[in-house]
């Protein structure tokens, strides 16, 4: 990688809830910014660049950066807003990383949010990447997309609905130990399997909730990062790309860029055994069932065999594979902000600051991802030591 080496020196997020009637959207962001600045032990005056992220159709504000920038004390600072459906927060983080790596800025703030109690339901004409005119007649949404993906996965792997329920229960057990997570439900396999069926095999409990939440990070180039933080989290690499095909998911229900992006990053960083060389994983799963295929694409499970690991009880915070120790997107999903939450959670894991949901042992590397649209992924690799 060329450019300055960079590190995350501060992270913050709100306690995620389904509704926040006590604050408007700008005030919600201010809470996350305060938390990140407090964590970094910096003030707003130190920040010289601000990157914002929001999936505008999900809460109905067009060009919200004009409103929010003054309310977070960032008038006169360089910066702009990024937007890209589910990967919004991820592209905002990636942009913030690039701004810090450019050497032009010393302290870059990245804040993303979504206040989904304000959503009108049918957000996003265009179905997250598909051409609206051709797909607008179909109710395309993460529910139907993941119904397709999961059905295809079950056909190829031979796993049963019970295994899908096991994934959801693992998610919930992790979320119960995360003070910021929204959904903590005390689930069992029976409860999940008996839940309302949305579109087979996806049940209501499998899907992520709608959330009002915000998260922020502060990123600095190397020299500054070492001065500001005792525990900088180094951003080793990141990658994103679009996928060919899957305009409507008819073309390839398993099409996803996750495996491709991970292979690229692993090669660039010399990782040959991800299961051993990466100790914590915060991989964006819009439906809990997506974890099965994602585990295979990032390289901790063999193709179409991840479901066996759940059967064997090998996935969990203190288990062999600590996948999504925060409870994942299934517990909390303020769309535009969710990938930033993944980066925040992954950073906390590397620092050893994840409190009750901390993966035991030394976390030398953590992987965080953002997912959006029909299968786009943004992948970040975070590292403890240079």
């Amino acid at each position: 990688m060329t450019g300055e080496r960079i590190a995350i020196v501060g992270v913050g997020q709100t306690v995620h809830k389904s509704k926040r009637t006590d604050v408007n959207t700008a005030e919600l962001c201010a809470e996350a910014v305060e938390a990140a600045l407090a964590d970094a032990q910096l003030t707003i005056k130190d920040i010289d660049c601000v990157i914002l992220g929001s999936f505008e159709p999900a809460d109905g504000y067009s060009g919200p950066d004009k409103w929010i920038v003054p309310e977070i004390g960032c008038v006169g600072k360089a910066g702009f807003e990024m937007q890209n459906v589910g990967t919004t927060g991820a592209v905002a983080c990636a942009t913030a990383f690039n701004m810090a790596a450019s050497g032009l800025f010393e302290n870059v703030l990245c804040v993303a949010w979504q206040k989904m109690d304000e959503a009108a339901g049918a957000f996003g004409r265009g179905g997250g990447g598909a051409n609206e005119y051709w797909t607008g007649q179909f109710p395309m949404s993460p529910i139907t997309n993941f119904a397709r993906r999961t059905y295809d996965y079950m056909t190829r792997s031979g796993c049963t609905e019970e295994h899908l329920a096991m994934v959801r229960v693992k998610q919930d057990q992790c979320a119960q130990r995360n003070k910021n997570a929204q959904l903590k439900l005390g689930l069992t396999v029976e409860k999940v399997m008996g839940d309302f069926l949305l579109a087979w095999p996806i049940r209501r409990l499998h899907m992520c909730p709608t959330t009002a939440g915000s998260a922020a990070i502060v990123v600095c180039p190397e020299k500054r990062a070492k001065k500001v933080s005792m525990k900088p989290v180094w951003v080793e690499d990141w990658f994103t790309c679009h996928q060919g095909g899957a305009l409507t998911m008819a073309e390839d229900p398993q099409a996803s860029t996750l495996g491709y992006a991970c292979k690229k990053i692993y090669k660039r960083c010399g990782i040959t055994n991800p299961k051993k060389e990466i100790q914590a994983w915060e991989v964006y799963e819009p439906a809990s069932t997506a974890e099965l295929r994602w585990m295979e694409e990032v390289g901790v499970a063999e193709d179409y065999k991840a479901w066996k690991l759940f059967e064997q009880g090998k996935v969990g915070i203190e288990k062999e594979i600590p996948f999504n120790p925060s409870g994942g997107v299934t517990a909390t999903n303020p769309i535009g902000c969710t990938p930033v939450v993944r980066v925040v959670e992954a950073s906390l894991q590397v620092r050893g600051d994840a409190e009750e949901h901390q993966v035991p042992g030394t976390i030398n590397r953590a992987l965080a991802t953002g997912y959006g649209g029909q299968g786009e992924n943004v992948v970040f690799l975070l590292k403890k030591a240079l």
């Binding site: 009108a120 339901g121 049918a122 005119y133 797909t135 007649q137 529910i143 295809d152 229900p253």
Partner: protein
């Protein structure tokens, strides 16, 4: 208009319903829309690997070359997957929350392109991957040049 619970106190929260008109140019895909009006499905073909895509694209997404060859995809296809939506979802075209009676199917057409459609068979147990489906079209005078000019796909 989308119906949601009305907030009572505007000093706490309020709604602002809007209907915004747009005019979209179909461009290169206009030919596809004309074909649908004629009761035909056509696709563009990549000159590098011969893959056909529906809806058509002016440039191949993988090989970055212009796709100038159009190929008729026939009237039948092989079922790839099917699923039924069990809950009311918004129809983003009208703003209505409605129930969706027919399953959505993914089909591989005779010409090799893949597309989505509705399916006449509502019993998903009968929809096994590999069965052959045939397009059932609206009467010619009712077609608008949209993918729903195909009312649904029926098992042969």
């Amino acid at each position: 208009m989308l119906k949601k619970e009305e907030p009572q106190d505007p000093s706490v929260a309020f709604r602002y319903p809007r209907v915004i008109p747009y005019k979209h140019s179909l461009g290169y895909q206009s030919k596809f829309a004309h074909a649908l009006k004629m009761g035909r499905i056509i696709a563009t073909k990549c000159p590098v690997d011969g893959r056909c895509t529906v809806p058509p694209r002016i440039v191949c997404p993988m090989h970055h070359v212009r796709q100038t060859e159009w190929v008729d995809q026939g009237q039948r296809g092989k079922l790839l997957s099917a699923f039924k939506i069990n809950f009311p979802m918004f129809d983003s075209r009208t703003g209505e929350l409605k129930s969706w009676e027919y399953p959505i199917v993914a089909i591989e057409l005779e010409g090799g392109a893949r597309m989505d459609g509705w399916c006449a068979e509502t019993d998903t147990e009968k929809l096994k991957p590999g069965i052959i489906l045939e397009a059932v079209w609206r009467p010619a005078e009712e077609r608008k040049g949209r993918v729903d000019d195909i009312i649904y796909w029926k098992p042969v």
